[in-house]
Symmetry: D2
Subunit: 348 residues, 4 copies
């Protein structure tokens, strides 16, 4: 989140942490541990090696400057991480570390863990917003309200009718997000060129074992097949978009001349003390538009050349975590905005 | 498709027809007929009125210049169409035409019919491409091929391994498209402000009856809740993106210096007669990028203000049919490209 | 413009014609004529050949189905056009046709001619809008009007103050468009790989002669250097965006509850006869958003691989003419909208 | 820059600092100082007040948590900053602080200062890249090289010809960036609704005085007229795009099978020790695509409703600084990449 104090308005510390360095290091350690267990189970590395690898994950301290330097040199943090972690394992077992895997297995799986956690956070926020909408409907649902079409007063309906138009898409999107979760919280295990060659006949079992240990769904290698990630990003933008629609409606209904909504805690103005600005509502609109743009750019990354494209992969990194934060921030704003809304009614 | 002869390269006559004037007029007539039947069934209009309306749909000839003028004046073709159609119904039954509905019900439902048909066409094309990929794998799957990662030769795998990376996303997307179809091939029936007020207690039955007659799924009104349309557009872009990846791979493998693919029927050059250009492969890349952009713009339309936004709705019209044509054209190119591919192998 | 009757709302026949088949054929004939003259002047082809080529352009009738087939096969209409045109030239002079040039020279230059004409049309429309704004200011400029910030009434200013905020960006953009015109209404002449090899020492003179005859600026070959086209597209989106801002303002000020603007000729509603919808204002918003999306996608085409990228070039064709039409349609709507505006005032 | 270690690959500390909190606070202090001087010069505040304000800027320590809280509450950091700064001024002179200005004047002008500095940094990097390209041409320009069109070997040209296609767009963009600088390194001074009301007849002089003291161009208020910012963002994307084209070319020419470029310092692979990956080249492609997407989204912010739109303004903040960093990072990568390139030639 670049720009002065912008993080305070449009950031989301909880979600940024899911995609941060600490979380990534922890997830990569989990991957190496789970892979060692699974390859040992398949008889490809010794049980002692798996034990040594598991032991090394405890108390492992990454050289972060070294990881950053590796990222800059290699275009992916995997090689530097594997080298550091291997050095932390007792000498005879080092060859067993990361056995048969490639950097992309490590980094994509670590991201899958983050996306699974992201879904849980987003689901909780959606649930809170839906509860607030239900409470608002219970409190004010029968109040008459003027409906507006094409920027003109149309005919009266009720606050409940209005709230339904906000609620239904969020309910549907909550279910959709859960489906998308199943598509992206999946293991990545393909080896250098996606063929799991080093695992021989044990490949499927190792992938399943890795997935089970990490709480992810099993999946065939998807190094260059990124439509599930792009589709997930699209779903995030849908959530932000549905909230942007609420923001637009709130800002319109709270206009001085309309006065159909009163907002608690509006923003202040340096020059006009009488104003109470619908800040959160406007921010929801901005976040929705930013998310739509990021989703479109993420979809550009589907043109993923050959078995692994550094260009397409980097483009995903530039957009998907940003989309997660943008959508998360929108949910957080909506969580605060809905309870601040009081309808004034006045359609008669 | 603007631009000289561009339609020949990037257009899709079959899909353009689904979103054309003829299809729209037919679909709007179907809507008015089915609505009349359903409202008559609910006892809200007389059976004679429904019969008169049904009769009027037969042989109805639209004044197309009038519809275009109405589109320009009203921002939506609905009012002009309803006026024309009403005039074609016997005088005593005119009030029963379009009973309780609004232009958006008519136009959104007509589009839903087009989207349902679109899905059938796309599914057929996906099936054909998958069959061609399977045939190619059967013919050449065991041939060795050099895999490439980060734009460098990596390790050998096989043509079958390569084809799997093209096939799996398309299989998944075929299933996803079917799910998305269920989300958008739905009836729209809300009346002026989305509350179905004119239908009273019969509202749900009328909506169900309308849906049944039109072969659409029933749905609550969604005048301002457009996330399903935006999500559908996203899915189209995923399909185009997965094909764009195939196009990028083919163009890379067919490079003069790589020579791992030989293409039948490559394009000619006005200045270099020795060249055989991978035209379809390049076009797939272009269509994927265009689709990604259109999907991102369509998502901007989710910020749909109030009960009906002319701005957001128009933005959907500018992007969703174009996305359908773009994705359809990509499928058509891929249908021709895959059978033109012969792998040369050469990873040893 | 796909979608039922959408052309009536968002199309622009005058600008579509600039990018249509007829215009392209005429421009390509102009190119071949001017190139023949310039190469003859440089002594590279015989004067008789140039005369024969000039003669052949008169009454040349393209086989359009053949051009479309060539477009489909070659990914560019150039080779088919050159073959057809060459066949129309007297046998001994055929080798002199298209001498030293490549398809891209022909097609890019033809597009440059279209862009030059486009700028003239857009400039005229901008001038008309600016005149209408000036007239509105003269008529109503001193009327008090409530200013709005962050969707709240702020403090009163005047209609003239408001109109200044619409006028100034359009004035600046008119000047900017003229600058951009100089960047894209340029000749393209590079030969097969952009080195003008066939022209030897006469290359610069031939390029200058070609440019002079076509009324274009001279330029070094820019086969793969597309930043001027992308920048031009960006400028078109700026124009559409500035008009979208006017549309948004008009729609907001014309709201029933605000009533600061009265619009002549608003759209009708099929269900609510009392409404007068701000159709043109909403369409301006939609066109601005579509243009922004297209401009972003066009910028993706700057990643133009090697000396000529079919993928990037096709992406330009998919977006730049569409941007021209979108911006043109916005100007046409604004030309009608501004004179339809009457401010009611009422800030006191 | 969210995402594990992504900053090391795609961040730009120097440019991030230009848009960071420290720079913003310093710039806002400069604004308040310069505004005080200019309003004192015009006789609107007392010279003692201006002196007190100038004194208060020295050693002023912002309460950053308070600024962040203000940002969250008000949607803009201005009100909280002005309140904090006012409290740091001797009591009798507090009313003179920020005289006649609004938050947007403060924040837009602070951003204009950042953009001016940004241009200087970008210009320096462009100069360095151009020098490296010139050195490469001097060293290897006459080497033969195979040109490629439509992903096929075409005809031989030279390394110098190739380098010209990289160099010319960057030279033009360097000049264009300088023009754009003049459009955005401008003062913003409009007061609450853009009319400079508090300044009366002294308005133009105060604006000029403010601009002069800050080293910015003078300008009429542009609160809602944002086309110059959007155009600037477009120019940044053009720079990133031109570099993305170089990245794509380098990656293609450095392919194992092509071998026309040898890269010093390529990235390593965790699984394939023999590979030297063209990391910087791939990152250039990713940054170009991200920049194109951000530019398109920034253009959405031109639909800026009324006299100040919180939604549109926030969208600018979400995209413009990110664009600056993206373009800056691309320039930094290109600065390292060009000297690492050695052409191998081999077109014969």
């Amino acid at each position: 989140m670049i720009g002065p104090f912008l993080a305070a308005l449009a950031g989301d510390a909880e979600i940024e942490a899911l995609f941060g360095d600490d979380a990534a290091i922890a997830a990569m350690l989990d991957f190496e541990w789970a892979l060692a267990e699974a390859t040992a189970e398949a008889g490809l590395i010794a049980p002692e090696a798996a034990a040594a690898i598991a032991a090394a994950t405890v108390g492992f301290t990454a050289d972060r400057a070294g990881l950053a330097a590796g990222m800059r040199r290699d275009g992916v943090v995997g090689p530097a991480f594997v080298a550091q972690f291997r050095a932390a394992v007792a000498l005879p077992h080092r060859a067993a570390v990361h056995f048969g895997a490639t950097s992309q297995d490590l980094v994509d799986t670590a991201q899958a863990l983050a996306l699974g956690r992201l879904c849980a956070v987003l689901d909780g926020r959606l649930a809170a917003i839906l509860a607030a909408l239900a409470a608002l409907k219970a409190a004010q649902g029968t109040l008459p309200l003027m409906a507006h079409t094409r920027m003109q007063a149309a005919l009266p309906f009720t606050v409940g009718d209005k709230l339904d138009t906000w609620t239904r898409p969020l309910e549907r999107l909550r279910a959709r997000l859960d489906e998308e979760r199943g598509r992206v919280a999946t293991v990545q295990l393909g080896g250098p060129v996606g063929t799991r060659t080093a695992y021989g006949a044990g490949a499927a079992a190792i992938s399943a074992g890795l997935a089970r240990r990490l709480g992810l769904a099993d999946a065939e290698p998807w190094h260059g097949a990124r439509e599930r990630l792009a589709g997930f990003g699209g779903c995030l933008a849908l959530v932000a978009g549905a909230l942007g629609k609420i923001g637009a409606d709130v800002a319109l209904l709270a206009q001085s001349e309309v006065g159909a909504i009163r907002l608690a805690g509006g923003g202040t103005s340096s020059a006009m003390a009488h104003k109470a600005n619908p800040v959160a509502a406007e921010v929801l609109v901005a976040l929705a538009r930013h998310a739509a743009g990021l989703a479109g750019t993420l979809m550009q990354a589907m043109v993923h050349e050959n078995e692994r494209s550094g260009a397409a992969w980097t483009l995903e990194w530039l957009t998907l975590p940003a989309l997660a934060v943008t959508t998360g921030a929108a949910l957080a704003h909506a969580e605060r905005l809905v309870p601040a809304v009081t309808f004034v009614g006045g359609a008669d």
